[in-house]
């Protein structure tokens, strides 16, 4: 929660700075994005052993559920995008393909259009907040496993303790694998989609 608050403050300060001081923010953003992707790659490689162990124990669920999350996110973006005049349905679909990974989706889409970047960040950031707020309730109404899809990529790290606490041990294992597979696919998905749909 502390990081979430810091990020919101950074975003507001950035908006203020951008309006008042004309500097080359694009260059700063590019360098930081390269550095962040390098660190993400490093983190994934370091966690590979525990991830493969988890994947073995839950089988089909570990592959199917992340795919449903990604497809659902894309369809959701497409449907809402068709109803919003300010945004093309293609851009809306790319934005929701971030599946809650706001730190990647926002900065990456900023390289194409700053407006897409801001909406990409807010859409995916609010997905994490929504997961934190609604998972404890939804888990009772629906079921612990399908409710994991609300969190998208965040179920691997920030919302994992929540899933374990309210969904149980099995849901915790599924959530980790779910978050990992979504996190693995999202960068490639964003790359391919932006090439095909936005350029």
């Amino acid at each position: 929660m502390k990081l979430s608050l810091t990020l919101m403050i950074a975003l507001v300060l950035g908006l203020f700075a951008g309006r008042n001081f004309q500097l080359d923010y694009r260059a700063l953003s590019d360098v930081m994005l390269y550095l962040m992707l390098l660190l993400i790659g490093l983190e994934m490689a370091q966690k590979r052993k525990e991830i493969f162990e988890d994947l073995k124990t839950i089988g089909l669920l570990s592959l199917g559920l992340p795919l449903m999350t990604i497809i659902g996110s894309m369809v959701g973006g497409l449907v809402v995008g068709m109803a919003i005049p300010e945004l093309s349905h293609r851009a809306a679909m790319v934005i929701t393909s971030g599946c809650g990974w706001y730190s990647l989706t926002g900065p990456y889409l900023t390289t194409i259009d700053p407006f897409y970047g801001l909406v990409g960040f807010l859409t995916n950031f609010s997905r994490e907040i929504t997961m934190i707020l609604v998972y404890p309730f939804v888990v009772r109404l629906v079921d612990p496993l399908s409710s994991i899809s609300i969190g998208g990529a965040t179920t691997m790290d920030s919302t994992l303790p929540l899933v374990r606490r309210f969904g149980g041990q099995k849901a915790g294992v599924v959530a980790f694998a779910h978050g990992f597979i979504v996190s693995l696919l999202v960068p490639f998905l964003l790359f391919v989609e932006t090439r095909l749909l936005l350029r």
């Binding site: 990081l3 990020l7 950074a10 975003l11 950035g14 908006l15 700075a17 951008g18 309006r19 004309q22 923010y25 700063l28 953003s29 930081m32 994005l33 992707l37 390098l38 993400i40 790659g41 490093l42 983190e43 994934m44 490689a45 590979r48 089909l60 669920l61 449903m68 999350t69 996110s73 959701g76 973006g77 449907v79 809402v80 919003i84 934005i95 929701t96 730190s103 900065p107 990456y108 900023t110 700053p114 407006f115 970047g117 801001l118 909406v119 960040f121 807010l122 859409t123 609010s126 997905r127 929504t130 629906v142 612990p144 399908s146 899809s149 609300i150 998208g152 969904g167 149980g168 099995k170």
Partner: protein, 82 residues
Amino acid sequence: MILLLFFAIGVLIGLIVKKELKIERPLNLTLIVLVFAMGAQAGSIKVDGMRSLVISLLLMTGAVMFSMIFAYLFIKAVGGNG
């Protein structure tokens, strides 16, 4: 392409280096600067923050709802209800 290259370099370093590197702090710092720069770029083209927020909430709601529906149908189909 450059982004994928940096990602691949990171994976490669992670596979080569046996000792576990603590990257949470630099990752968070990078993220904070990145979000600042992203906000600054949006601010420099005078994006309407409130309009962006409303659009974002609508998109998030759509994405979450359809993800849940698809996931629910899948869980029912494979009988993996926990």
